[in-house]
Symmetry: C2
Subunit: 219 residues, 2 copies
DNA sequence: TTTATTATTTAGATTTGTCTAAATAATATT
DNA sequence: AATATTATTTAGACAAATCTAAATAATAAA
């Protein structure tokens, strides 16, 4: 099955929004891909034709088994390139997403597997996300919640779900990265903010919005 | 100036066919790009509009200063990726051209320069072709001729101009690679073949057609 | 349960890059 | 120089991926 870049991007976004097995709506997908709902409908028809998604009009989209397989291949390539960029070319955490977005579309299994080997077959990428293996198997990520819903007080940052340059740069500025230890001091409902103390720094306040994208596990 | 992949491929092929400053014909370019002359004419109009080429109808194509600059950037990326694939991912000589053809279109100067650094700023690629530096400067390649026109008897292979998988695999099978030493035993005009002896092997016969693509310098 | 709102799809247009077939220009041959 | 051949361009079409505007379906509100 030979997918175009546009098709791959749709598959990847459906995979991302599905999170388990939820149905993905036309609007959500259009927003994620920075495109228009009408365009998503067009593409949905094509991907259904290719049996990569389940789709009935007005009923939303889910990946088929083949679609999931394709998505995992793309995700694998993306995360391996991110590793390469950070580990070998010394890019920083927040710079690599856009570049990996392009490199991921070079569809060569041999290249992907050689790259993985070269990097020492890593199992998580620089953002803490697990890397599917050559067969598309994904190791279960360790138990984690988003920072806004954490109940334990002492936590470690394990991943960042939104990889926009803006957020990553913001976190960088605040001294928050993978493995950073922090404590929740207070959660202010009335203005949706959270006061935290990053290890070795004075306390700071962040919005719930930001906290939603920071995944943590109990220390 | 943001170029599409199609535009980049045209620029690159014009650069390749120009060899110095020769005018490139529509037909030659169509053949090189495995497309049709009419398509080349269409693209020529667009590239002229963007001031990347000099073009008057029926008069052929040459690169403008800007076009040459763009071409050298693409060639730089292509050759650096070839180095990476061979040196780091242990691909063989003849496998890397197609992959580099895709990787070269990731247009990030920062990535290109980091990659170059990571590789130790190489100045020639695995096929023996020089790599333009970050400013597009190309070190003059050592004096070389194609094998079919060589006058010295003892020679060293310095480059291969046609990088089709077929030819490279053929040469590999014959034990010919960069740096291989060989002697010309005889040049048969009547059937356009050349008998050569590769160092450490028994003499073999190759066609002039193949010899044209093997660049050599006197030992 | 009507009505209003929101989500989704359809219809038709646009851009990019390509093609074929026909027309025209340049070059080679007699 | 006239004619044949080859090279190039034009005209018109097509597929992919997108868009806008209008129509329709699903859902929420009154």
């Amino acid at each position: 099955m030979n997918l175009s870049i546009a098709e791959e991007n749709h598959i990847k976004s459906i995979y991302k929004l599905q999170e388990g097995d939820a149905v993905v709506t036309t609007n959500a997908l259009a927003y994620e891909l920075d495109t228009k709902p009408a365009s998503v409908t067009d593409m949905a028809k094509k991907l259904k034709e290719k049996k990569l998604i389940e789709y009935e009009k007005y009923k939303g989209i889910t990946l088929s088994a083949d679609g999931r397989k394709a998505a995992l291949q793309i995700v694998r390539r993306h995360r391996l390139w991110e590793c390469f960029l950070v580990d070998k070319l010394l890019f920083s955490w927040e710079e690599v997403h856009e570049l990996a977005e392009e490199l991921e579309h070079v569809r060569s299994e041999k290249l992907t597997n050689r790259l993985s080997e070269f990097l020492g077959n890593p199992v998580i990428d620089p953002h803490g996300d697990p890397i599917p293996d050559a067969n598309g198997k994904l190791v279960k990520p360790r138990p984690q919640t988003s920072l806004d819903q954490a109940n334990a007080k002492r936590l470690v940052v394990t991943a960042v779900t939104d990889q926009s340059t803006a957020l990553l740069a913001f976190l960088n500025a605040k001294g928050i990265k993978l493995g950073t230890q922090l404590e929740i001091i207070a959660h202010y409902e009335y203005d949706n903010s959270i006061e935290i103390k990053v290890k070795g720094q004075s306390p700071i306040t962040i919005s719930e919005q930001v906290a939603k994208n920071i995944m943590v596990r109990p220390l």
